[in-house]
Symmetry: D3
Subunit: 61 residues, 6 copies
């Protein structure tokens, strides 16, 4: 703990994810007062046909 | 908010998902009294080897 | 399966939740072609200090 | 209910997953006093670029 | 990793949860070939008005 | 989207959570190239009897 689950639309590069987990971990450790080793992050990429906002798939927007 | 996460066995068509998010969003907005714009849905499809009921993978049923 | 997880801001009545799960289940069964018995829904209520949009807690909006 | 969600790094065989859901279900039913039929398990496999510990992707370890 | 999330109806004792996490962890480590230290479990208890099966709240069954 | 779910052991102050969501949102928007308005965060606090590491409840550590 903490465990962070991030749902994203697919399309980010590995370099973006590398930087994202580094910075999210810093944000958590500095505000929750816990060591970086305690932070686990899982990224889940979703296709545009698997996300909807206001009742409409991202695919159709 | 609300955030709706739906875990499904893989195999539905895009048209089924399109109708599903439309109708689930209506069900949420009409009972929770919130605007459709507030509803986000994430669909997660799982392979039959990744779901189990009563200790047995769907793959083996 | 399907499994539906709904994150909501706290404050809905039991009657609203009763109607919500009834209607969400109908929406799922009619579009995913599965029996109602297969649909499990978990509602999770969150306090306004536990949800944020655009970097700001709901508590502060 | 109970619903069990297991996030794993990809790479386990179907046989390992088959044994995993069998044994996790036994562990749950014997300690929560519920029938096996009540236990649903969803396994989610994540690529090494989608998991991070201590701010570093598994890919880079 | 692995991360295990368990949704349960409220009502189990601490002793039941203590035994549950011990046994679920054993089940995971022995089938996924990972050390016990790698396994994190989060238990989420839900009230009977927050779980539904077949469109009906547990509260009403 | 993105949707961020953070599981934490209970005990952080509202001020810590306020700062956490602000900084996590910045970390996401700057690395995923999305507007802050697109980022939703849900914090879930867990009691020490609801989290386990290596088969042992936090309560017992």
């Amino acid at each position: 703990m903490p465990i962070v689950q991030i749902d994203l639309i697919e399309g980010r590069t590995t370099e973006q994810k590398r930087e994202m987990v580094k910075r999210v971990t810093e944000a958590i450790t500095q505000t929750a007062n816990c060591p970086a080793e305690a932070v686990t992050i899982v990224i889940r990429e979703a296709a545009k046909q698997h996300i909807a906002k206001a009742g409409t798939l991202m695919l159709d927007k």
